[in-house]
C-alpha cells in the first residue's frame, strides 16, 4: 500500500480560476482536485450535463441543483440564435437568463457548424457556411465566437478550433487544422474581453496522430490558458485510439491545470479517462437518452419502456440516492417506481424529467465516487468494482478498456 502523494505546491491560480490538486492516485494517473470558478468551487473529476438552450430537458434549475450539479454547459451556437446576442446583452448574460447561480461552460459554436452543416468550409478567416435558410454565404470567426461567449458570460469559454473528425484521412489537412487551431487560439485570446471573470480554455487538436497531438500540446501549453481541453474525439474513432490520444496528452499537460475531454459521457469512458488523468467531461447522451425511457444504472442502461418493468415497483435503481430513487422516508424523496416511469414513458413529459434527474445524478455521483476513491487511494478497486457491476461476466469486458487501464497499472482481471 502506498501513500497518497501530496505536492509541496498543489495550487495554481489565474485571473478567474484556482485549481487545487487534492490527491493523486498512487497507481493510475487519476487526480482529485477542486476547481474554483467565478460562480463557486466544483470538485473534479466532474461530469457536466448539457443544457443546450439554457434549459436541461424540462427540469428546473432548482432540480438540477438538487442533483449536486454546480457546473453545466450551454451551447453557444444555440444561444447565439435564440435568444441571440442582443437579448443576452440586455438581460445580462446566460446565468441571469436561466436563473442559474452556479457555473456555466460554453463551447465555441464551431463544432455545430462543421459537424452539422455539410457545406461548411474552414478558411484562415473562420468557418464559412451557407445560411441554412436562404443560402447566403456566412462567416464565423474566432472573434465572433469570443464576442458571443463574452455576452453569454460563461465561467469557462472554449476557443474556436478547426475541428476535424479524428478519422480524417488527409494528414496534411489534419496538420493544417492543428496549426490553425493554435493560430485561432491567439486570435481568441486577443478578442476575449473579460479574462478577469471568464476563463478561456484552449483545445488540443491533431487527430489520432500522437506526435501531432504532442506538438499541439506544447504549442497550446505555451499560451498558458487557465484550462486545457482535448478536442476532436467522441467521433468515429476506435476506443483504443481514443484512449491513446487522451493518455498522450495528459502525459504532457501541466499538473496544476484542469483537463477537459470534450463530448464524452458513457460511464465506461468517464472512468477510463479519469484513470488516464482527465478531469472534466460533458455529453448530451445521459439527458437525451432519458427521453427514450433509458435509465443509466451501475448495471447498465435499462429501457423503462420494456414490458418487464410494467409491474416493477422498485426504484429506477436500487441504492441510488437521487430524489427519484431514495427511500421514501428520506428528505426530498419522490418515490418513483419503474412501473410509473414505464406507465408514462413517451406519453407524459414528466417521465422524461424524472429519468433526467436520475441520469444526471448517476453521472455526477459516478464521478463523486471516483473522486472519493482517489482521495482514499482506492481508485483501482473502484474501477474494478465499476466494471464488475457493469459486466457480470468478465469475458465481456471491452478490450479497449482492459488495455487502456493496463497502461496505467490496473489489471481488470486480477482479483
Amino acid at each position: 500500500m502506498s501513500i497518497v502523494q501530496r505536492m509541496a505546491s498543489n495550487k495554481a491560480s489565474s485571473a478567474a480560476l484556482t485549481f487545487e490538486l487534492v490527491a493523486k492516485c498512487s497507481t493510475t494517473r487519476a487526480r482529485a482536485s477542486i476547481l474554483t470558478l467565478p460562480h463557486g468551487p466544483v470538485n473534479l473529476p466532474i461530469f457536466m450535463p448539457v443544457a443546450t438552450q439554457a434549459s436541461l430537458k424540462g427540469i428546473t434549475p432548482e432540480q438540477l441543483e438538487s442533483t449536486g450539479c454546480r457546473l453545466c454547459l450551454n451551447n453557444t451556437y444555440h444561444l447565439g440564435l435564440k435568444p441571440g446576442q442582443e437579448v443576452l446583452d440586455a438581460v445580462g448574460g446566460a446565468h441571469k437568463l436561466q436563473g442559474w447561480k452556479h457555473n456555466l461552460l460554453t463551447d465555441s459554436g464551431g463544432f455545430q457548424m462543421v459537424s452539422l452543416l455539410k457545406l461548411a468550409k474552414v478558411t484562415e478567416e473562420g468557418v464559412r457556411f451557407l445560411s441554412p435558410h436562404d443560402g447566403s454565404p456566412m462567416l464565423l470567426t474566432p472573434e465572433h465566437s469570443m464576442s458571443l461567449q463574452n455576452s453569454i458570460g460563461s465561467d469557462i469559454m472554449m476557443q474556436l478550433d478547426d475541428v476535424l473528425v479524428t478519422t480524417h484521412p488527409d494528414k496534411a489537412r489534419m496538420r493544417e487544422a492543428m496549426e490553425r487551431s493554435v493560430r485561432w487560439l491567439d486570435r481568441c485570446i486577443k478578442a476575449h474581453k473579460n479574462p478577469d471573470r471568464q476563463n478561456l480554455f484552449c483545445i488540443i487538436q491533431g487527430g489520432l496522430d500522437l506526435e501531432m497531438r504532442r506538438e499541439c500540446c506544447r504549442e497550446m501549453v505555451a499560451r498558458d490558458t487557465p484550462g486545457i481541453a482535448i478536442g476532436g474525439l467522441s467521433g468515429g474513432e476506435a476506443k483504443d485510439d481514443f484512449c491513446k490520444v487522451v493518455a498522450a496528452c495528459t502525459e504532457l499537460l501541466p499538473e496544476l491545470k484542469p483537463r477537459y475531454v470534450m463530448g464524452i459521457g458513457y460511464p465506461e469512458d468517464l472512468v477510463v479517462s479519469t484513470a488516464l488523468g482527465a478531469d472534466m467531461f460533458d455529453c448530451v447522451w445521459p439527458t437525451r437518452t432519458a427521453r427514450f425511457g433509458n435509465a443509466i444504472t451501475k448495471h447498465g442502461v435499462l429501457n423503462m419502456k420494456k414490458e418487464q418493468y410494467a409491474k416493477d415497483f422498485g426504484p429506477i435503481e436500487d441504492g441510488c440516492g437521487c430524489p427519484c430513487c431514495r427511500p421514501v422516508d428520506q428528505e426530498g424523496a419522490i418515490g418513483v417506481t419503474r412501473a410509473f416511469v414505464h406507465h408514462n414513458s413517451a406519453k407524459e413529459t414528466v417521465a422524461a424529467h424524472l429519468l433526467t434527474i436520475h441520469n444526471v445524478w448517476y453521472q455526477l455521483h459516478l464521478m463523486g465516487g471516483a473522486r472519493d476513491a482517489i482521495i482514499a487511494d482506492k481508485f483501482p478497486a473502484f474501477v474494478k468494482e465499476f466494471f464488475n457491476n457493469l459486466y457480470p461476466d468478465r469475458k465481456s469486458y471491452p478490450s479497449w478498456a482492459v488495455n487502456a487501464l493496463k497502461t496505467v497499472g490496473i489489471d481488470l482481471f486480477e482479483s
Binding site: T52, S55, G58, L81, Q85, G126, H133, H343, S345
Partner: protein, 492 residues
C-alpha cells in the same frame, strides 16, 4: 371525511364557504380547485414540484388513464392494481403523488372523449391510450376499492356528447345510473373500514327527473353519500364541479350557484398555449387613463415583446416561476420549444388560481363576494387569449375526436419520418394514433442505439433540441444575432 359549511352568501343557496378535511391530508378550504392529471401526473410537473410549488391540495385522476391493454400483452392485468402501498393509498403510491394530497378517482378524463360504442346496462365505455374498452360497474367497484382514493365518483350513464340527451335517453340515463348507484352502495361499504368518500354523480337531465333521482339518492343512501359531483340542487354535502368551466367568469357563476370544488381543464390548456394567466380577484382598481379598457385574462408569453423583460410573469405573483425566473426566460423557452417553459407556466397558472380562490374565500368571509364578482365580470375580457406559441405535442389520449373533419392537433413535424409514417393515420382513427406514437418511440430508440444521430427524425421534436440550424434563421438573423457575418463573395 368531514365537510364543514362555514358560511353561505345567501339564505338558501348561493356561494358558500366551507372546509373539507381528510385525516392525514391537507385540509381544503372551499371554494377551491383540484389539479387535473393526465395519466396520473399534472402535465409537465414532476411530483416533487407538485408538492413544493403547485399549492394544490387535491388531484383528480381518471381510471381510464391506467387500464390500457397493450396489443402484445392483452391479457396482462393493469399494473396499478398490484402497487404495494405502505400508506394503503395505491393510487398515490403508483403515481408518486405526495401523500398529503387528496385524490379523487373518476372513470373518465375531464373532458372525456365520447365513445362510439356507448354504454350498456353492465357499464360504460372508456378511452385508454390503446383504444376504447368496456368497464363494468363491478370492475369499477373493484378498481376503486383496490386503489383506495380519498374520494370516488361512481359510474354514471353519461354520453359525453355536447347535445342534450333526448328525453328517452335521459330517462334511461337516470334509471341506469340509479341502478348502478344502488349496487355501488350495497357493495362499496361492505367493508366497514372503508374511508372512501362517495361523491354521487348528478346528471344532465331535466329538473323533474333530476329531482326524482336525487330524492331516491338521499332516501336510499341517506347515510352514505358524502358529496355530489355536479352542479345542481343545493344540499349540505360538498359539491365537486365536473363542469369544466372554460373561464374564471364561468367559475364565478358556478361558484355563486353553490359549487365548492372545481376541476379546471383551462389551466393546462393555457400553459400549453404559452399563456400566463394574469387575473386577480378582485380586479385591480381602474386606473384613470385606461379605465374603459377590458383587462386580458392572460398574457401570451411567447410574444417577442417579453424577450428582454426581467419582470415576473405577473406583478403580484409569488410563485416559484415568478420569484426565481422572469418573462425573458419563459419567452426564450417557449420560442426554443424547451419543455421547461410549460413547466414554469403550469406552476404559475396554478398559483394564479390558488390565489384567485383564496381571495374569493376572503370576500365570502367578509361579505364582499357579490360586489367583487360583479367588478370582475366588468373588468376582464370574456375569454382567455389563445396564444401564438407552439404547443407541446398532443397524444392520442389527450384530445377529443370531433368527427371526420376535425383539424389535426399536431402540426406535421419537420422531419420526413412523420410525413411517411404519421400520415398513414387516417382521420377518425384517433385511437390508432397512440399506438403509432409508441411505435415511433421504439423506432427512435433503435435509431439512437444503432448510433445514427437520430437528430433529424424528431417526431416528438417539441422536446428535442434541434441541433440542425433553425429553419427560420436566415442570414440576416445570424448576422443580427452576432453569430456570424454575411460575406458578399466567396473568396478563394
Amino acid at each position: 371525511m368531514t365537510f364543514e359549511l362555514l358560511k353561505t352568501a345567501v339564505k338558501d343557496g348561493g356561494a358558500r364557504l366551507g372546509r373539507l378535511a381528510f385525516s392525514g391530508r391537507r385540509t381544503v378550504d372551499t371554494p377551491n380547485f383540484f389539479g387535473l392529471t393526465s395519466r396520473g401526473v399534472i402535465p409537465h410537473v414532476t411530483p416533487d414540484n407538485v408538492e413544493k410549488h403547485l399549492h394544490t391540495n387535491g388531484t383528480y385522476m381518471a381510471l381510464e388513464d391506467f387500464i390500457e391493454r397493450p396489443q402484445q400483452y392483452m391479457t396482462r392485468s393493469p399494473p396499478i392494481y398490484e402497487t404495494p402501498s405502505p400508506i394503503n393509498k395505491p393510487l398515490n403510491s403508483f403515481t408518486a403523488m405526495p401523500s398529503s394530497i387528496i385524490t379523487v378517482l373518476g372513470s373518465r378524463r375531464l373532458p372525456a372523449v365520447a365513445s362510439p360504442m356507448g354504454n350498456t346496462n353492465q357499464g360504460i365505455s372508456v378511452f385508454t391510450s390503446t383504444g376504447f374498452q368496456a368497464v363494468t360497474t363491478k370492475e369499477y367497484l373493484n378498481a376503486v376499492q383496490s386503489l383506495n382514493p380519498d374520494i370516488a365518483i361512481p359510474l354514471a350513464d353519461l354520453t359525453h356528447k355536447t347535445n342534450t340527451p333526448t328525453s328517452k335517453r335521459a330517462l334511461r340515463m337516470a334509471e341506469r345510473t340509479d341502478d348502478w348507484i344502488k349496487e355501488w352502495f350495497t357493495e362499496m361499504y361492505k367493508n366497514k373500514d372503508s374511508k372512501i368518500a362517495t361523491f354521487a354523480p348528478v346528471l344532465p337531465i331535466s329538473y323533474s327527473m333530476q329531482w326524482e333521482y336525487l330524492e331516491r339518492l338521499s332516501e336510499e343512501h341517506a347515510s352514505n353519500p358524502a358529496g355530489l359531483s355536479e352542479i345542481q340542487k343545493p344540499r349540505h354535502p360538498p359539491r365537486l364541479a365536473l363542469t369544466a368551466p372554460s373561464t374564471p367568469h364561468q367559475v364565478l357563476r358556478q361558484l355563486a350557484l353553490g359549487m365548492d370544488i372545481f376541476l379546471l381543464p383551462f389551466l393546462s390548456t393555457a400553459s400549453d398555449a404559452g399563456i400566463a394567466l394574469s387575473f386577480t380577484f378582485p380586479p385591480p382598481p381602474p386606473g384613470s387613463s385606461e379605465s374603459s379598457e377590458l383587462l386580458p385574462l392572460g398574457i401570451d408569453m411567447s410574444s417577442p415583446e417579453h424577450s428582454i423583460s426581467l419582470t415576473p410573469l405577473t406583478d403580484s405573483c409569488t410563485c416559484y416561476a415568478c420569484t426565481t425566473h422572469h418573462r425573458a426566460f419563459v419567452q426564450h423557452l417557449l420560442c426554443a420549444r424547451e419543455m421547461l417553459g410549460w413547466t414554469l407556466l403550469q406552476i404559475h397558472n396554478h398559483a394564479v388560481l390558488a390565489s384567485f380562490f383564496a381571495s374569493i374565500r376572503e370576500a365570502l368571509a367578509d361579505g364582499t363576494f357579490e360586489e367583487k364578482a360583479k367588478q370582475f365580470q366588468l373588468r376582464y375580457e370574456p375569454e382567455i387569449p389563445t396564444g401564438l406559441g407552439e404547443r407541446p405535442r398532443a397524444r392520442g389520449y389527450h384530445f377529443k375526436s370531433e368527427g371526420p373533419n376535425e383539424q389535426k392537433k399536431n402540426k406535421p413535424a419537420w422531419s420526413k419520418f412523420e410525413g411517411e409514417e404519421g400520415e398513414q393515420v387516417k382521420e377518425g382513427e384517433k385511437k390508432v394514433e397512440g399506438t403509432v406514437a409508441e411505435k415511433v418511440g421504439e423506432l427512435r430508440i433503435q435509431d439512437e442505439q444503432s448510433g445514427s444521430s437520430g437528430l433529424g427524425s424528431g417526431v416528438d421534436s417539441v422536446a428535442e433540441t434541434p441541433l440542425v440550424p433553425d429553419e427560420n434563421a436566415d442570414a440576416k438573423d445570424l448576422e443580427e444575432k452576432g453569430f456570424a457575418e454575411r460575406v458578399e463573395e466567396e473568396k478563394k
